[in-house]
Amino acid sequence: MSDADEAIVARDLIKTFTVARKHEGRFAGLRSLLDPVFEKRTVVDRLTMSVARGELVALLGPNGAGKSTSIKMLTGVLTPTAGEVYVNGRVPYRDRVANARSIGAVFGQKTQLWWDLPARQSFALLRDIFDVSNALYDRQLADFDAILELSEYWDTPVRNLSLGQRVRCEMAAAMLHDPPIVFLDEPTIGMDVVVKEQTREFLRAQVQERGRTIVLTTHDMTEVARLCERVLLINHGRLMFDGTLDELKAEHGSRPHVNVTFAQPVPVVELTGARVVSHDGMRAVLAPEGVTTSEDVVRALISRFPVVNIGVEETNLEDLMRDVYLSKLAAAPSNATRPA
C-alpha cells in the first residue's frame, strides 16, 4: 500500500520536551528558581505507523505512554522533534490552516465550544470559521441530531451542559465541516453507559456511512472491542503492537475460561489439556491449554461429570490490557510492524 492510499503515515516520529528538573535538598525551591537545570525528555520515540482511509483504529497505552502527544503531532498542533508525518497527504504542522479543513479533533477533557454561549451558537461560529455551506451545515446537524439527540440541549449554554451532553456537542463540532479524518482523544471519559453506546453508534455511522478515518485513544476496552478493527499499542512513546484485538489476545496467550456448575460436589476435576483455575466442589473454572479449545473442555466436562450449568467466558479485556501493559513495560522492543 502506497502512502497515497493511507490517511495517516508517521515514520520515526520523535517528540522531545525540555523540562526543568527540580533541585533537591536545602533551599531546593530557591535554587530551582535561580539555577534551573533542564533536561530532555523523549515522549514519543521513533513512532512508525499508518492508518488506511476509512479505518477506525484504537491508539492504546497506559497513562503517560505518549498517546496524546502522538495525536497532537498527527493533528499538527505539535511540531515533531524529528521524523516524518503525513495526514491526508499533507505535513500537518507545516500547513496548519489547510490541514485543519481535512481533520477534526476532540480532546475529551478540553472544550472547543464557547463556554457561555449555547452549543448551537458555537456550531454556527464553527460553520463560519470553516466556511461550511448552509446545505452541508443543515445536513450535518440533522444527521448528528438523529443519533446524538443534540436538539434537546443545544440551546443551553455550554457551561450548563452535563459532561455527556457537552462531549456529544464536541463530537458534532469536530465533524461539522465534514473532515475525512477525525482524532478522538478519550472522548467518552466520564460518560454513562447509555451515552457511551450512543456515541459508539455515532462513530460507527461516521466510519461505515460517511467513510471517515477515525483514530481513537481510550482506556475503555469495551469501546475498543465494539468499535475498532485495529489496535495500535504505544508505551514509552514507542509502538509495541499493531494488529487486531484477536491477534493481541493470541500473541499474549489470552484464552477463554470455562465455568462449570455440578449437580453434586465433585472432589477432583482433572482434564487433559486444561488447567484448573479454581474449584470449590460444586463449581470450577478451567482454562484450555495448548491445542485444546474451550469446546473440547466443555465436551469433556459434560461427558465425565454431572454438569447442570456450563458456559465459556471470553477474556476480560481490562485484565488482558493490564497484563499486556505490564509485560510491555518490562520489555522494550523495537517498533512493531504492521501485519500484512
Partner: protein, 279 residues
Amino acid sequence: MTSIALPDAGRRRPHRSWRLLRVGVLNERAFRIRLIIAPMMMAVQLYLYDRLWTAVFQHTSKAAGLTLKQTLTYSLMALLMGRIRWNARTINVRDSIPIAVREGTIVYWFLRPISPGRFYMWRQSGDVLYGGAWALLGYAVLLAGGVIDPPHGATGAVVFAVSLALGQVVLYYLGQIVDVAMFWMLSNNGLARMYYFVQDLLSGVFVPLPFMPAVMLAFATWLPFSSGVNVPLSLYVGRIPVSHAPAQLALQLFWCAVLALVTRFMWQRASHRVTVQGG
C-alpha cells in the same frame, strides 16, 4: 458521498469575521448583570475623578499647564479610553490566550482554518468595538452635560479620531505581546498585572502625563504607552497643537509598525512551541 439539497437558497451569511466580532458581545449578554455593572462602574469612576480633580484645582486655575476643564477632559476621557479595551484585556475570559494556554484549549486555535493570530485579532476587535460603544456613550453623556470640552473644530476632531485609532492599535499590539508571552511562561498573571499597571500609569489613564515629574514624563514619552492615550488626548485638549499632529501621528505609526513586527515574530515562534497542558 451524496449531498442532500436543503433549502439554503436566499440564506445569506455574513463573513466569519462578523460572527467572531460578536462573540464578546454574546458573552456579555450571557451575563446580563454585566450590562448593569458596566455603566455603574463607569459612572462611579468618572464621578470620583471629577470630584478629585475639582478638589485639586480648588486653589489654582492652572496646573502642569492645564486648566481644570482641560484636566477633566483629559482625565475623564482617559478613563473612557481605558474602558475601550477593558474586555479585551480581561485575563479571565475563557477564550483568551492565558486561559486557553493554561487549560490546554489552545489546541483548538491550531485546528481551525484561521491562523491563531487572526482569530485573536477578530476576537479582540469585537471586544474593542463593544468597549468602544460604552466609551462613546459615556463621552456623549459627559459632553452633553458640559463636563468635558468638545474637540477643537472639525480638524481637531479628525486628528483626534485618527490618533485615537492608532493609539488603540498600539495598545492592541502591546497587550498581544503580553498574551503571546504566555506560550513561553505558561502563567503570565503576574506579568499581565504588572504590565497593565505600567501601561495605565505611563499612558496617562491614572493621571494625565503632564502631571508626572519631568524624568518620568520623558521616560513615558520615549515608550509606546504614551501613544496609546496621552498623544490623542493631548491633541484633543490642545496641549499638543494640531500643527504638531503629523509628527505625533508618524510616531504612533512607527510604534504600530514596530509592534506589528514583534508580534508577528512572536506568533511564528509560539506556533513552534505550543505546549498543551493537561494531557
